[in-house]
Amino acid sequence: MSPADEALIVAIARLIPPSRHAAIGAASPIPAAASLLAREMSGNLRVSMLYQRRGNVFTDGTGELFDLAAQGRIDLFFLGGGEIDGAANINLIGLGEWPGRAVRFPGSFGSAFMYLLVPRTILFRREHSRRVLVPRVAYISAPGTSPPGVFRRGHADALVTGRAIFRFSPERARFTLASVHPGETAETIRAATAFDYDIADPLPETPPPSREELALLRGPVAASLAPIYPAFVSRLAA
C-alpha cells in the first residue's frame, strides 16, 4: 500500500471515535484497516467484519450483518461510490443508459439499506477528481438525505478522499471542506471537485500519519488483515 493509502486509512481511523461498533462489508480493505487501527488506538471499538476468516462474528450467515443494522446494533458503516455528489448521494450502478451501458460499476451492495439504518456513515474514495465528485450522480444507489417521514437513523458524517476531508450537514444537504491533506490547498481542491461546498475558516491541513499510527498500521493491523485482503496487505508491506 502506498503512503497515500496509509494517509487515507489513518484519516478515516481518526474520525471513528466515539462510535463503538463498526461493521465492515465485503471487499472493503480500507475501512477494515481504518477500523482495526481505531481499535488499536482506543481499545474501545467492536469491529464486525463480514467474511473475516478468524473471529467472524456472523454465525447466522452473511445476512446477519443487515439484521444487526436494521435493529440499530451497529453505530458506524463505510460506503464508497463510483460517483459521489454534493448532496452525499452515491452511485455504485453506472453511467449512461440504465443499468450502466456506458460505464458499469459493480452494483449497490448493501448501500441502499445501510445508509438509512446505520446512525453514522463515513464516505471514502481515494480518487478525488471531477469525474468522481460530481454535481449530481447519474443514478442514486443510496440517497444522501431523505424527506421527512422516511425512517432513517443517520447520514454521512464525513467524506474522506486522497486529498481532503469534508464534513456533511444533512440539514443543509451540503459538504464543508474541513481539512486538506499535505500538499493540497483550497484552490487545488476546488479545481478537483465538481460539486459545490463550503470551506472551513480557517482551513487546516490534515495532520500526516504519526509514527505510532504508522507502526500500528504496518504491524498488528496488517497482520490481522493479511488473511482477508492478502493482495492489499502485500501492497502495504511493499
Binding site: 462489508g25 465485503a26 471487499a27 480493505p29 467474511y51 476468516r53 467472524n56 456472523f58 454465525t59 447466522d60 450467515g61 452473511t62 445476512g63 446477519e64 443487515f66 443494522a69 436494521a70 455504485l92 450502478i93 453506472g94 440504465w98 443499468p99 450502466g100 451501458r101 456506458a102 458499469r104 459493480p106 452494483g107 449497490s108 451492495f109 448493501g110 448501500s111 441502499a112 439499506f113 445501510m114 445508509y115 438509512l116 439504518l117 443514478y139 442514486i140 444507489s141 443510496a142 440517497p143 431523505s146 424527506p147 417521514g149 422516511v150 425512517f151 488473511p227 485482503y229 492478502p230 493482495a231 492489499f232
Partner: protein, 277 residues
C-alpha cells in the same frame, strides 16, 4: 436424494432455470459452473436466470462469458480484490444481459420470504434509491400499523434451483455448511438444491448435536456430486482460502474475448480430472 458425478449434476440444471448461487467467499460452486460451461461449449443451449446470494463473482462471470445466462438479479457482480467482473461488465455494456440491480439485504429477505412460504416481506431502507424505480416488482406501501410510515415490500423469491458447494455430506445426503446459514436459507427457498462437496462421510451429520445446527437436511437436496476443491478459485471456510493469484489471472485474461477463450481452453474445457468422480 442421489449421488451423481459432476457432469451429471450439471446436466440436472434445466436450460431456462432460475438458479441461485453464492459468491466467491461463500462456498461458491465453481467446479459445477465449469461443468455447466463445458456443457454449453459442447452445444447445450442455456438461458439461465441467475440469482446472486446476495452478490456474485467468478462462477457467475464464467457462466455469463460462456453464454449460459440470459438475466441476472444481484446486488453486485465483482471479483473483489481482483477487480471488476469482465464478462459481466462487457455483457451489460453490450446489452446482451438483462441486469436486475438489487441490494444485499433485499436479496436475503426475498429468499427468507420464500423459505417461510409467505408471499412478500417488508424491508427498511431503499426509499430514495433509484433501484426502486427499476424494480417494478418492489412496492412501497404505508405501514398498516403506523400511518405515515412508508415501507418497501419485496416479493418472495423461490429459485428453481440452488447451486452451492459445501465441505461435507453424509450417506443420507445431509449437507454441512457450518456458519454459512445463507446457504440454508437459499436451499429452503429453492425448489431443489444441487450440491457439490469436498467429502462424503460415514457418520450421520444430523445425529451429531454439534454439527446438526450447521446442517441442511437431505429433504431439500436433489443430488450431490463429489468435487474436491469445488469452490476453487473461491475459498471454503477452514478448508482453503481464495486463490487470489488465480482470480487475478482470470481477471486479466477475461478482459478480452480472446483472453477469455484462452482461459477456457486452459482451465475449463476439457478438464477430465475435474469431471471424474
Amino acid at each position: 436424494m442421489r449421488f451423481v458425478d459432476l457432469d451429471a449434476l450439471a446436466g440436472m440444471v434445466p436450460p431456462d432455470a432460475v438458479v441461485a448461487i453464492p459468491p466467491d467467499n461463500s462456498a461458491t460452486p465453481s467446479s459445477l459452473a465449469r461443468a455447466l460451461a463445458r456443457a454449453r461449449l459442447s452445444g447445450a443451449g442455456y438461458a439461465i436466470s441467475l440469482i446472486g446470494v446476495p452478490v456474485s463473482g467468478y462462477a457467475t462471470d464464467l457462466l455469463i462469458g460462456t453464454g449460459c445466462v440470459a438475466e441476472i438479479q444481484s446486488s453486485a457482480v465483482s471479483l473483489d480484490e481482483a477487480g471488476s467482473a469482465p464478462c459481466f461488465t462487457r455483457a451489460v455494456k453490450a446489452g446482451t444481459l438483462r441486469m436486475r440491480d438489487a441490494t444485499c439485504p433485499a436479496m436475503h429477505a426475498m429468499l427468507e420470504a420464500a423459505a417461510k412460504g409467505i408471499p412478500f416481506i417488508p424491508i427498511r431502507g431503499i426509499l430514495g434509491s433509484d433501484l426502486l424505480a427499476h424494480r417494478t416488482d418492489w412496492k412501497v406501501i404505508e405501514n398498516p400499523f403506523q400511518p405515515g410510515d412508508p415501507i418497501v415490500l419485496l416479493p418472495a423469491l423461490a429459485p428453481d434451483i440452488a447451486l452451492f458447494h459445501a465441505a461435507l455430506a453424509d450417506q443420507e445426503g445431509n449437507v454441512w455448511v457450518g456458519r454459512h446459514r445463507e446457504l440454508a436459507v437459499m436451499a429452503h427457498a429453492a425448489r431443489r438444491s444441487l450440491v457439490t462437496v469436498e467429502r462424503i462421510v460415514e457418520r450421520s451429520l444430523i445425529e451429531d448435536e454439534l454439527l446438526a445446527p450447521g446442517t441442511i437436511s437431505a429433504a431439500y437436496i436433489e443430488a450431490i456430486a463429489l468435487a474436491e476443491h469445488g469452490a476453487w478459485p473461491g475459498g471454503l471456510t477452514d478448508e482453503y482460502p481464495d486463490d487470489e493469484a488465480h482470480l487475478a489471472e482470470y481477471a486479466a485474461l477475461a478482459r478480452t474475448e480472446e483472453g477469455f477463450r484462452a482461459y477456457l481452453a486452459r482451465y475449463v474445457y476439457p478438464a477430465p480430472a475435474e469431471a471424474a468422480e
